[in-house]
C-alpha cells in the first residue's frame, strides 16, 4: 500500500465517496443536459437567427418562469458538469501539488462568479427592468 507521507496524500487516500458521487453526477446531468442543451440550441440558434436574439427578445422570453427555470437548469447543471470535467483535466495535467491547488481555487472562484452572475441575471429580471 502506498503510505501517505503528507497531509495532502493522506487526504487523497482517505475514504470518501466524492469521486463516485461526481462520477454518477456526470452521467445523470449528462443525460438531462442532452435534452436541455440540444433543445436550447435548436430553439435559439439553429431554427432562428442569431440576429433575432435582441435585448427585447431575450428579456421577453425570460419573463416566462418556465424558460427561466429551463435556462437556470442549464446554467446549474452545465456549470457543475463542466467545472467537474475541467477539474478532471486540471488534476491530470497540472502536476505540481501547489500549482494544482491554486489553479483549482482560482478556477472554482471563476465558476462560482459565473454562477452568481448568471443567477442574478435570471432572477432579478423583469420585462420592465431598467427601461
Amino acid at each position: 500500500m502506498i503510505r501517505a507521507k503528507t497531509y495532502a496524500d493522506a487526504k487523497e487516500q482517505s475514504h470518501t465517496n466524492a469521486e463516485l458521487n461526481w462520477w454518477i453526477f456526470m452521467r445523470v446531468s449528462g443525460v438531462v443536459l442532452v435534452f436541455l442543451i440540444l433543445g436550447h440550441l435548436w430553439m435559439t440558434y439553429v431554427s432562428v437567427s442569431e440576429k433575432d436574439a435582441t435585448f427585447t427578445a431575450v428579456t421577453a422570453k425570460l419573463a416566462d418562469p418556465v424558460w427561466k427555470l429551463y435556462d437556470w437548469l442549464i446554467l446549474v447543471l452545465s456549470l457543475l458538469h463542466g467545472a467537474n470535467g475541467a477539474r478532471y483535466s486540471i488534476e491530470d495535467y497540472v502536476r505540481s501539488r501547489p500549482n494544482r491547488f491554486w489553479v483549482k481555487i482560482i478556477f472554482y472562484a471563476v465558476m462560482a462568479a459565473l454562477f452568481i452572475f448568471g443567477s442574478i441575471g435570471l432572477f432579478t429580471l423583469t420585462p420592465s427592468f431598467n427601461k
Binding site: R27, G30, V31, L33, V34, I37, L38, L41, Y45, V46, S47, S49, E50, K51, A53, T54, F55, V58, T59, L75, S78, L79, G82, A83, G85, A86, S89, V110, L114, F117, G118, I120, G121, T124, L125, F129, N130
Partner: protein, 118 residues
C-alpha cells in the same frame, strides 16, 4: 503521437469538446447576462456576436455539443452495459456520423442566413 484506436480519439475529442463548450458557456453567460446592465451594454456585446465569424464559429460549437452529447451517451452505455463495451467502436462511429449530419444541417440552416445578413 501514440497510435491509439477509436477509444483514444473518442476520449480526446470528448475532453476537448467538453472544455471548449465550457469556455463558450462562460462567454455566453457573460454576454447574455449582460442584459442586467441595460440594453446599451447588451446590444454592444451582441453586435460583436453578430459578426459573421462568430456566427460561423458557433457551428463548430454545435458540432462540439453534438459530439460531446452523443459520445457522453456512448460512455454511459459502456459504463452500465457489456454491450456498450463490445460495440464501443461502432458507437463511436455512430457518434461521428450523427455529429456530421447534425453539423451539416446546422450549417445548411445558418450559412444562408449569414450570407444574407439576417
Amino acid at each position: 503521437m501514440y497510435r491509439g484506436r477509436e477509444g483514444q480519439w473518442a476520449w480526446l475529442l470528448h475532453r476537448l469538446s467538453g472544455l471548449a463548450i465550457l469556455a463558450y458557456l462562460s462567454i455566453h453567460i457573460i454576454s447574455i447576462g449582460s442584459f442586467i446592465f441595460g440594453e446599451r451594454v447588451y446590444m454592444a456585446i451582441h453586435e460583436v456576436y453578430d459578426h459573421w465569424l462568430f456566427r460561423l464559429g458557433l457551428i463548430a460549437i454545435v458540432a462540439g455539443v453534438l459530439y460531446h452529447s452523443f459520445n457522453g451517451l456512448r460512455v454511459i452505455v459502456m459504463d452500465f452495459t457489456g454491450h456498450g463495451i463490445r460495440y464501443q467502436r461502432h458507437l463511436f462511429w455512430a457518434t461521428i456520423v450523427i455529429t456530421l449530419i447534425g453539423t451539416a444541417y446546422t450549417a445548411y440552416m445558418v450559412i444562408p442566413r449569414v450570407l444574407a445578413g439576417v
